[in-house]
Symmetry: D2
Subunit: 194 residues, 4 copies
């Protein structure tokens, strides 16, 4: 079983990414369930804007990411929260994935059918539930199945506060919830592909 | 296989409900797949406000609906759109369902695990995608799995326009999409319970 | 200058309401600016479901609340957060207010024009920004002006945690932000009616 | 009086933009009210990702757009709808504008105070109300005032259908609503700066 993990931070490497830190908890949990993982830090990959699977110009990084997504049973989108909403990088990913709606697999079904999607959110203020709503609705539109409780987050309110990496507050909850998410993703993916 | 269908219109019987009309398309498709369906028009059922499974007062209609939900593999929430958002009746349903987060079945798992949820939306103006996002996020939080493309809608923009029952525009698309939703719900429910 | 404040908690009196506690901070700030305030705990007022200004049955509490709204320059909607979303009581208020879209004042303009709306959100987990988005969009659709930074909230994540009344964490930020909101509401209302 | 209009289409020039077509209706209405307008097609301007006002690298187009925004009393964000949500380009604009939250003017107030924001949405399927909710909440967080009914849209459901430029359906409603939006933006901006 394979999982593609997309870190949609705005920060290019080698800047530290809080989203990567929480995503790594979910990745480790997936790997303990014998899932092979592929992680992309999307902002490093030169993904062009657009709504097509085809390269949108020379050097467009999307086709490689798309190939990973369609070779995986599990997709995890991880994003920071800005103004209570998913990052523009996460939105660009959803836009490129929009093309999958009309692409079909060997069985004539939409290519995302039978695949599952989960979510990881971080932020230095309130916002995760809505970010998950946006990502889940987009993934479901495209054809991914979203298992119950297939997400974790670390956002702390009220008001602007520390980032995930600045404190230990709530890490244990986010870790435990992320491990549950990983288990639910794997279990559901197995049921759908079984 | 059983499905509980909740019509969250604001209109009490015997007023005609556009939401019921589109919901009936999904119900027929479920029944063709040999699913037994139970439909509640929630506004007729005297559901009290609150966030608990227990009766919130004498005559509270929620416990009966809750019993139907937890005896069904499939849940369909159908709602009209007001101001681009789900109805207050749909919100009241989600609030009462909030209690399910901490209730577990015989296997010690959250009681909604292994069940699927889908959505039907109508409205006389734009709004369905967001309504689906709200309902899906709530259902996923509670533990329901939302299959890919497990919804249909009929909303027409721009600006205020006809209701579903006033025109034939787009009925064919909404019907076909609703039949796909029914199929995806049944298939996923079977996979999860298999 | 007058302000109508709607507490959209699910809890009937005399149960303590966290939302009322934070709302009272904004109310005090408005009163210090010489605004006369009218507060309704909507769940106590027997507001019927519907989308009309007229009574929807015998004893419908909406017409009195509507009269307060249209006699006030300022509206504040306060709501708890359930599943990351506004309460069903807040939604019912928006639905009844939907009728204002087509009602006009003496000047022939939509009746909400020239009035301002602000928001107060509480919750025992993440969610405020989205709740504000829902309420603001509804109010703007209806014709209310929403001043910049005309809200405050108290929601703490990650995961379920204490309610506003259970801790002092962040109260100072929520109070200061609520006082700014009150000031921005009054200033904008004066500019619009000046 | 000045207005900055940001077209957040994903399509680079010289591709035709449906969003530009509807935005031009609002621009003409603003100009009839003697507002000087500055329009940016953001995707052509090489705006880097980030959450700061300062250039994020050589050739970053944001500082020029930011200068236009802070020299204008009116901001209009126009976006297409993808998967029922604002474009990634609109999200990138909001992210760069996030820095304005902590920037102050000569009066020591947040720099967006006293400025108004409005919205234009197009799409070949349902989604406008939610897009407006996202943009309005972001603008309000930053300090912009959003006047009542300060938006227009052209989205047609149910299901994928024509784009704005492909049909005349509803153009009259979108135009009239856009003219009302322009009037409300100008009137409110005058009141705030009066």
């Amino acid at each position: 079983m394979r999982a593609t993990l997309l870190n949609c931070t705005l920060k290019r490497s080698p800047q530290p990414s809080n989203t990567e830190r929480l995503l790594s908890v979910v990745r480790a949990a997936l790997e303990r369930e014998e899932v092979t993982t592929f992680t992309y830090r999307v902002v490093d990959e030169n993904v062009f804007e657009g709504v097509a699977s085809e390269p949108q110009g020379y050097g467009d990084g999307w086709p490689a990411i798309r190939a990973a997504i369609v070779s995986s049973e599990i997709l995890v989108i991880a994003t920071p929260t800005w103004l209570g909403q998913p990052s523009s990088v996460a939105k660009r990913v959803l836009e490129r994935m929009d093309a999958l709606i009309s692409e079909t697999g060997d069985d004539g079904e939409p290519i995302a059918y039978g695949r599952v999607a989960g979510f990881v959110v971080t932020g230095n203020e309130d916002g995760a539930h809505h970010v998950i709503a946006e990502l889940a609705q987009g993934a479901i539109d495209i054809g991914f199945t979203v298992p119950g409780q297939a997400w974790t987050y670390w956002n702390m309110g009220p008001g602007p506060g520390p980032s995930y990496g600045d404190t230990d507050h709530g890490h244990e909850w986010s870790r435990r919830t992320g491990e549950t998410a990983a288990r639910n993703l794997v279990r559901t993916a197995k049921a759908l592909t079984g």
